[in-house]
């Protein structure tokens, strides 16, 4: 939004004033529009009750106004969009992951303690033994508003006896006051019956119960039937315990769940989310399985990323050099063909390769007659993964190298030729160093991508083949697939633990990329 410079021009050049004025209005309109948009989003967020998000949105609107409405900070105008995306898409996920890694968030620990306790109690509601199932009609007193008036249950019990139940209790209903059609009350004097749609609007219906003598209540089961149910569990806030009235078991909170105080029996099913400090991290560093698996996987992970980058780069570069030769005819066709594997979605190629590597039915063994158990033995599986990744990755390197080669100054090559350098010498001493300056950072990026190449591993081997006794550590596992299985797919999903592993991977990748970027900078200085 280059608003101010054009406004300045408007005074200097009367001939261009009209256009500048138009641009100026366009700028202001865009500014107003973005503020209106943020306002709209804020209203929605407020509607949903996200208070913190509303404050952030309001702050954002202020920043936008202050920046683009004045000329106080011109450079920031260009930086703000990127800055916001950086905060939203990079910084926030990292903060969120770190925050999650300090909790026990995961299966069975999704909700707050209050919600979990309420759910445990709701799950303990049983039909009172020997009590009847009623045919239900939901009603309110005639003449009162159906959306807010106190609810009443018009019930037909066993043997056709009629009742009316409200928050005070259950009372008989005279048969003369009600019309019963096919077992249900369809009209009653003094009451307005609700239809399903109206009843659904009454969100108090699912918690409503007609109190009964035994301490239970008659509850609706849907819209047509009601039953007398009683919760077996009750929560005592004073002692922070839950008691089962049918067995007398007292449950205390331990490890974010309700467990029996005497240690006998099982915990209640629903647990809650709580902060566990650095426990997830200490778990990772003290668990034998994780520790022993970690090193092997880490080594393979580095080898996989390094070999993938090297093999794809070498093949891509050689092909690029070959097709850079002007004497080859039909270079355009070859180039298009070589880019094809890149155009096919990677997951399709991976699945095709997967079926080609099948020991019995795959085309590779059928053609070569090797009979290698490609995906069943550790080293063959690693080779299969690398071959597939070479296929998937070389076109990228080919494109990059082709571009870089075409950008090389021809005078340098000419000088080399005049100095008597052969083709290989030119490549080694002139072309390669110049090429590396251009593609060096891309190699580092490619390394980082392959370091976390979850998709390929997951589609090809899912980390396997696994080495029993431990089906947690796969021969082709990367840290990221290992973390995925460990924390999400293997046993009970544990997002806290998964986040902790992610944080560790983040640190590792960061530490490893740092020297790479340093080195690529060093190359830049050489040139």
């Amino acid at each position: 939004m280059a608003l101010q410079p054009t406004a300045d021009l408007a005074t200097a050049d009367p001939g261009r004033g009209g256009r500048a004025l138009g641009q100026r209005w366009l700028g202001w309109a865009a500014l107003a529009l973005s503020v209106v948009f943020i306002g709209y989003v804020a209203v929605q967020l407020a509607d949903k009750g996200y208070t913190a998000a509303v404050i952030v949105a309001a702050f954002l609107a202020l920043v936008v106004l202050a920046l683009y409405g004045t000329r106080r900070a011109v450079p920031l105008k260009y930086l703000l969009p990127g800055l916001l995306l950086l905060l939203g898409l990079q910084v926030w996920p990292i903060v969120y992951t770190v925050a999650t890694s300090l909790t026990n968030y995961g299966q069975g620990h999704l909700v707050t303690k209050e919600a979990a306790t309420a759910q445990d109690i709701a799950y303990s509601v049983r039909q009172v033994p020997g009590s009847p199932t009623y045919q239900l009609s939901v009603a309110v007193k005639a003449g009162s508003p159906i959306t807010t008036a106190p609810l009443a249950f018009l019930l037909v019990g066993q043997g056709g006896s009629l009742y009316v139940g409200d928050s005070s209790g259950l009372n008989p209903l005279a048969a003369s006051d009600a019309t019963v059609t096919s077992g249900r009350i369809t009209a009653a004097q003094g009451y307005t019956l609700l239809n399903l749609k109206d009843a659904n609007q009454r969100k108090d219906l699912s918690s409503f119960a007609v109190p009964t003598a035994g301490g239970g209540g008659i509850k609706a089961s849907g819209f047509n039937t009601a039953y007398e149910g009683k919760a077996q569990l009750s929560y005592d806030r004073a002692t922070d315990t839950v008691t089962d009235s049918s067995t007398g078991t007292v449950y205390v909170s331990k490890g974010a769940r309700w467990v029996p105080k005497n240690g006998q029996g099982e915990a209640l099913p629903v647990g809650w989310k709580e902060n566990v400090g650095t426990r997830n991290f200490t778990d990772i560093f003290t668990n034998d399985t994780i520790r022993s698996g970690f090193l092997g996987i880490f080594v393979w992970n580095i080898a996989f990323a390094t070999l993938s980058v090297l093999s794809t780069f070498v093949l891509g570069m050689l092909l690029a050099l070959l097709l850079n030769n002007r004497t080859i005819r039909g270079r355009g066709v070859y180039r298009s063909l070589l880019i094809l594997p890149y155009a096919v979605p990677a997951f399709v190629s991976a699945l095709v390769w997967l079926s080609m590597f099948n020991q019995q039915f795959g085309v590779i063994n059928q053609v070569t007659g090797l009979g290698v158990d490609w995906l069943g033995s550790p080293w063959a599986a690693r080779a299969a993964i690398l071959i597939t990744n070479l296929w998937l990755g070389f076109p990228y390197m080919f494109i990059v190298c082709t571009g870089a080669l075409q950008g090389l100054p021809s005078d340098v090559l000419e000088a080399a030729r005049i100095d008597g350098a052969g083709a290989f010498r030119t490549l080694r001493s002139v072309q390669l160093p110049l090429l590396l300056v251009a593609v060096g950072p891309l190699l580092v990026a490619s390394f980082a991508f392959n370091f976390n190449n979850f998709g390929l591993i997951f589609l090809m081997t899912k980390g396997g083949p696994f080495l029993t006794p431990d089906a947690q550590i796969g021969s082709t596992d990367l840290l990221i697939t290992y973390a995925y299985r460990l924390a999400i797919n293997g046993t009970a999903p544990n997002y806290g633990l998964a986040s902790a592993v992610s944080v560790i991977i983040l640190v590792i990748v960061g530490l490893m990329s740092f020297p790479g970027f340093m080195r690529s900078k060093a190359l830049e200085e050489v040139s």
């Binding site: 898409l89 069975g108 009843a199 769940r257 999903p493």
Partner: protein, 437 residues
């Protein structure tokens, strides 16, 4: 204003959700790896709405149901009837991964009212507090297959309404193998003759893959008295009693090893090629379930469904029995309509009959079963094959079993000793259950 507005907010929240979901799995990934449900839905809330996009909860409907792509059209037809009878609007939305997407939506407070899925999700749903109890009166419950009712229960509470029962059986190509084998040994003899005559490439297809498949391998364990969990006194599975390393399971595993040497079991047969081998007539026998049948019919293969054969020195192979059902979400925004739909509508004979069309699974309601069995001989065959089968465990501890047990099976098939492999798998499972808490 209010209703229109939800769309934008939903997109924003789901975007935020995606960010958080991605971050929790792979903060360092530079794209390309994770597959997460994209949330772009614009389903209208008319009674006949099927939204095929990845679901974002339809806020306008009086009832929102999530089902997978196979089930959705039939659920939709029923839902339309229900909507018309009761003057409400129902939206049926397709979720590619109902279980995973439901959990994500539940965490974000955007859960649908009802989900359609398998009974072994139950323990996990209960632990997350994500499912609401359902009250089936005793006379309604008495009309169902007792095994199906048992599948809806967890810790003595009922949580769902079942509609279909599914299990593995031996599907046979009648052109290649005219008679049903009573034992694995007969099956292998027939299969070997076919392979020798170049009529088949393999003796049998049982999807196993390089990392194994505990579901498709379980019948070999059950035949010899083995299994996964022991049972408590009330008949529930006991996660503290893992019997993978027990004598029965080891005996079954040894049988798997023997059959693998004969060529009847192979880790080269996996979920991608098992059905297509049978479909193309390259294998005479496949151990599979009702879900494979539509493809076989399409391919014009003449097939028969037989009970699983027995193993020499052990007994008859028993499959796991799975039950498909309707769950009501504990976070249902339309609890009354949802409960009414599952308890009064889905329990009806007509509804159960039309739900039979989903994958041709034998109905859970006895009256509906009796009706479809007269018109479809496959139904009786599946039910016969299920006889004696145990319910697939619905306890969350089952999540700790699939990986180690599957790999142990694959290893035994690849020639490793049965006893040692299964004993160490047992230890790994016990350890996993412990660490899962």
């Amino acid at each position: 204003m209010h209703k229109r507005a939800y769309g934008t907010a939903a997109v924003l929240t789901s975007a935020a959700l995606l960010v958080s979901a991605c971050s929790s799995t792979s903060s360092g990934s530079s794209g390309g790896g994770t597959t997460s449900p994209s949330s772009t839905s614009s389903a209208t809330a008319s009674p006949s709405a099927v939204s095929s996009s990845a679901p974002a909860r339809d806020a306008n409907a009086d009832l929102v149901i999530w089902a997978d792509a196979t089930a959705a059209p039939f659920v939709q037809a029923l839902a339309a009837q229900f909507a018309q009878q009761n003057g409400v609007s129902v939206a049926v939305q397709i979720a590619n991964d109902v279980r995973g997407q439901y959990e994500t939506a539940f965490k974000a407070g955007q859960a649908p009212d009802i989900i359609v899925g398998a009974h072994d999700w139950l323990g996990e749903l209960v632990a997350n507090g994500a499912v609401a109890p359902v009250q089936l009166s005793s006379d309604v419950a008495a009309g169902f297959n007792p095994l199906a009712i048992k599948a809806t229960q967890y810790n003595g509470q009922t949580y769902a309404v079942p509609y279909g029962v599914e299990n593995l059986a031996l599907v046979r190509n009648t052109a290649l193998a005219p008679t049903a084998p009573a034992t694995m040994e007969q099956l292998i003899a027939t299969g070997k003759a076919l392979v020798k005559a170049k009529k088949a490439t393999n003796i049998m297809a049982d999807q196993m893959g390089k990392t194994g498949d505990a579901y498709h391998g379980y019948p070999f364990l059950s035949a010899c008295g083995g299994g996964i969990f022991g049972t408590k006194s009330n008949g529930d599975y006991d996660p503290a009693n893992v019997i993978v390393g027990g004598a029965g399971s080891v005996k079954g595993a040894a049988a798997m090893g023997t059959y693998a040497k004969e060529g009847a079991l192979s880790t080269n047969i996996d979920s991608t090629n098992a059905d297509s081998l049978f479909q193309s007539g390259k294998v005479a026998f496949e151990i599979t379930g009702p879900w494979s049948i539509p493809a076989f019919q399409k391919a014009g293969i003449k097939y028969a469904i037989d009970p699983l054969p027995s193993i020499a020195g052990c007994g008859k192979m028993q499959p796991f029995v799975g039950v498909q059902m309707f769950y009501v979400s504990s976070a249902a925004k339309n609890m009354t309509v949802a409960q009414t739909f599952v308890t009064s509508f889905i329990t009806s004979e007509a509804a159960q009959e039309s739900l039979f069309q989903i994958g041709q699974r034998p109905p859970a309601l006895t009256a509906a079963y009796d009706k479809v069995v007269t018109s479809n001989p496959d139904v009786a065959a599946w039910a016969t094959a299920a006889k004696g089968g145990q319910l697939m465990p619905n306890i969350p501890a089952m999540n700790s079993v699939w990986g180690p047990l599957g790999q142990a099976m694959a290893d035994v098939i690849s020639g490793k000793p049965a006893a040692a492999t299964f004993k160490s798998a047992d230890a790994a499972i016990v350890k996993n259950i412990k660490s899962a808490g």
